[in-house]
């Protein structure tokens, strides 16, 4: 009986997920002409830009990040890079100083006591006098044309207050990095579709650029449960500020290489999402905030809870299935038998049909995302890893969603964030 009730609960989840996919695909294709037009936007003027590079023990990747910024195809007299060392214990600050000496008109190196990413970015913000302000995590790298492309959005859309880039995982090698490569590619599509709906959920750390006046109007970054990029997005939506997406502005970020690192990064994101969303609960189902209030936020919030249930159910079903297979092998031993093809044994349940539709749409979204970006990824090579990792990913989601929900409602301290920073 309980099993039947749990199984029946799967239908609304599948319905919601399908609705979500169709809504995004419809929105995307409705705007396909506009998206095409965006690609030919000219840059008639070059506003001044400050890029903050907050770092904490980033001696391994900082050079690469700074080199990629210095190689940007953008007038160098309009570019300022502020490296803020947030109390690193390694050579981060001396590397920053090295660049400051070499490029004194562009790079500034600042060091301060450790206070968290938002404090580092705010230091850079207080020193900036530019028209535009952005941030690039010290484990991320930009493509030369990216800034110019992003600026074209600001120049051609006077009401655009922030522009997000197209993010890919840099050279995925480990299993979990390959999984993230797929997730980020899907993110390329989602961000574009949400952008067309004025409902972008987050202006991510790697190279989202904001007009400086945004901070003058709504204030600087906040600690915001260690997800300052999500909180400022909520604040921008609350103040009806337009956030756009530039699908051609490429940024590469290093994804956590281990499952543990991935787990703690996602745990921080999930916890931050829940805490901040609850603080901005007046945005939920509020028509004043458009598609963000009516669609993105409620659905994303629901998916954390429903996702926990669905992941548990899916994992339970998988375990039951594989236990049966193993039990059978234990009883009968391994015997080779030619597989027979009989349509009779095909899974033709309602959930199976809808799941097939959803997987097809998921693959289609990946394909569309790949055609959007100038860097065509050989994503199909990572797909087998992605699908084979499903049981581990489901287990990770169950652990992180339940922990994030538990910690949020019991107000548990965020000590694990340090582990995320070390791993991620």
């Amino acid at each position: 009986m309980i099993e039947q009730i749990l199984q029946a609960l799967m239908y609304p989840f599948v319905f919601l997920s399908l609705y979500f996919q169709i809504f995004l695909l419809t929105s995307f294709f409705e705007s396909s002409k506009k998206i095409k037009d965006e690609e030919s936007q000219d840059v008639s003027e070059y506003p001044s830009v400050t890029i903050a590079v907050p770092c904490w023990n980033e001696e391994k990747t900082l050079r690469g990040t700074l080199d990629s910024l210095l190689a940007l195809d953008y007038p160098l007299d309009m570019l300022t890079i502020i490296v803020v060392d947030d109390g690193s214990k390694d050579r981060t600050y001396s590397i920053a100083q090295e660049y400051e000496k070499k490029f004194p008109t562009i790079v500034r190196a600042i060091t301060k006591e450790n206070g968290g990413k938002h404090t580092a970015v705010n230091v850079a913000l207080s020193l900036s006098t530019s028209d535009l302000f952005g941030c690039l995590d010290a484990d991320s790298f930009v493509e030369t044309k990216s800034l110019k492309i992003i600026v074209s959005y600001f120049v051609n859309n006077k009401n655009a207050m922030a522009v997000t880039p197209c993010i890919h995982i840099k050279s995925p090698k480990t299993i979990i990095q390959r999984v993230q490569a797929i997730e980020y590619l899907l993110g390329v599509f989602l961000r574009k579709a949400f952008g067309e709906l004025d409902a972008i959920q987050v202006t991510p750390g790697p190279f989202s650029i904001l007009r400086k006046e945004v901070f003058e109007k709504i204030g600087n970054y906040r600690k915001a449960h260690n997800t300052e990029d999500y909180e400022i997005t909520l604040r921008m939506h609350k103040n009806h500020m337009k956030i756009m997406n530039s699908h051609k502005a490429l940024v590469y970020t290093v994804g956590p290489a281990t499952f543990k690192g991935y787990f703690y990064q996602r745990l921080r994101w999930s916890r931050g999402f829940l805490e901040n969303s609850l603080e901005y609960k007046d945005l939920f189902f509020n028509r004043k905030y458009g598609n963000f209030g009516m669609f993105t936020l409620p659905l994303a919030f629901t998916f954390v809870f429903y996702g926990l249930y669905a992941a548990t159910w899916a994992l339970y079903s998988m375990i039951t299935h594989y236990t049966t297979v193993v039990n059978r092998l234990v009883v009968t031993g391994i015997h080779f038998k030619f597989p027979t093809f009989d349509l009779f044994y095909f899974n033709t349940t309602l959930i199976a049909f809808v799941a097939m539709t959803m997987i097809s749409m998921f693959l289609f979204m990946l394909y569309v995302a790949n055609t959007l970006s100038d860097d065509r990824q050989e994503f199909y090579k990572n797909l087998p890893t992605y699908f084979l990792s499903t049981p581990i990913l489901l287990l990770l989601f169950i652990m992180l969603f339940s922990r994030a929900i538990f910690d949020t409602f019991t107000h548990t301290r965020n000590d694990w964030v340090l582990q995320d920073t070390k791993e991620g």
Partner: protein
């Protein structure tokens, strides 16, 4: 700002996909039932034909009795029925009906194979196992026993396995339970007119099966190998 039309449109498209999936699922599920009914009808005809043939040949020597008198489709049907039961649930009316029909066909097949054995003695002696199971969750070993029997059927194609749901509300099944004194301690097995209860592994079963079965299978294997070798 909010495009209500788009929300509504998406809702109807989602409903349409769900409805299509629902109809497709129902369609294929019904097709499955039809497929099973079709096989059952075929088996029923086979059995009737065999019985008639058997009556006709009553006075004829055993050499003339056809080897294919017993329907080979009975085993396939069992697997398909089991799959349908998993999909539609044990309480589904169609499933219960099909199971009853299947039980009756098995009993008829069993009687026919007994008759064959009696008439033709060792030459046409059939080896069979009658198996009682329950899928109400009160028989933890029944699933394992099912694997054992499936494997035995693969290993010894001559072996006939008749599986009955202990809880099936059918008088014929009750009669079988009474004849073989099957208690509620399941799985219950009948091998060579002897009744056993509790789980039996492949090795246990092989020890209980007559040697003739193994000899028949190994000679069949030799014959196949020789044919392939030519």
């Amino acid at each position: 700002m909010i495009d209500t039309k788009k929300y509504t449109f998406t809702f109807f498209v989602t409903v349409a996909i769900f409805a299509t999936a629902f109809f497709a699922s129902t369609f294929f599920s019904n097709k499955r039932v039809e497929n099973i009914k079709f096989i059952q009808d075929n088996i029923a005809i086979d059995i009737l034909a065999s019985e008639a043939q058997f009556d006709l040949l009553k006075e004829v020597p055993c050499q003339n009795v056809d080897d294919s008198m017993l329907s080979p489709e009975l085993n396939i049907l069992g697997d398909k029925l089991s799959r349908t039961e998993t999909d539609r649930g044990a309480k589904d009316e169609d499933v219960i009906y099909l199971k009853k029909y299947y039980a009756l066909l098995q009993v008829k097949d069993y009687i026919l194979s007994k008759k064959l054995s009696e008439k033709c003695g060792e030459r046409k002696k059939q080896v069979f196992i009658i198996y009682f199971y329950s899928n109400l969750g009160d028989c933890l070993d029944c699933q394992k026993e099912g694997y054992v029997l499936t494997r035995l059927k693969e290993k010894y194609p001559e072996l006939r396995v008749y599986a009955f749901d202990y809880n099936l509300d059918l008088s014929v099944v009750d009669s079988l339970k009474a004849i073989f004194k099957i208690q509620s301690a399941l799985p219950g097995l009948v091998i060579g007119d002897k009744t056993y209860s509790g789980y039996k592994s492949i090795e246990d079963m092989e020890n209980l099966l007559p040697d003739t079965l193994r000899v028949a299978t190994s000679s069949l294997e030799i014959a196949t190998t020789t044919k392939k070798g030519r």
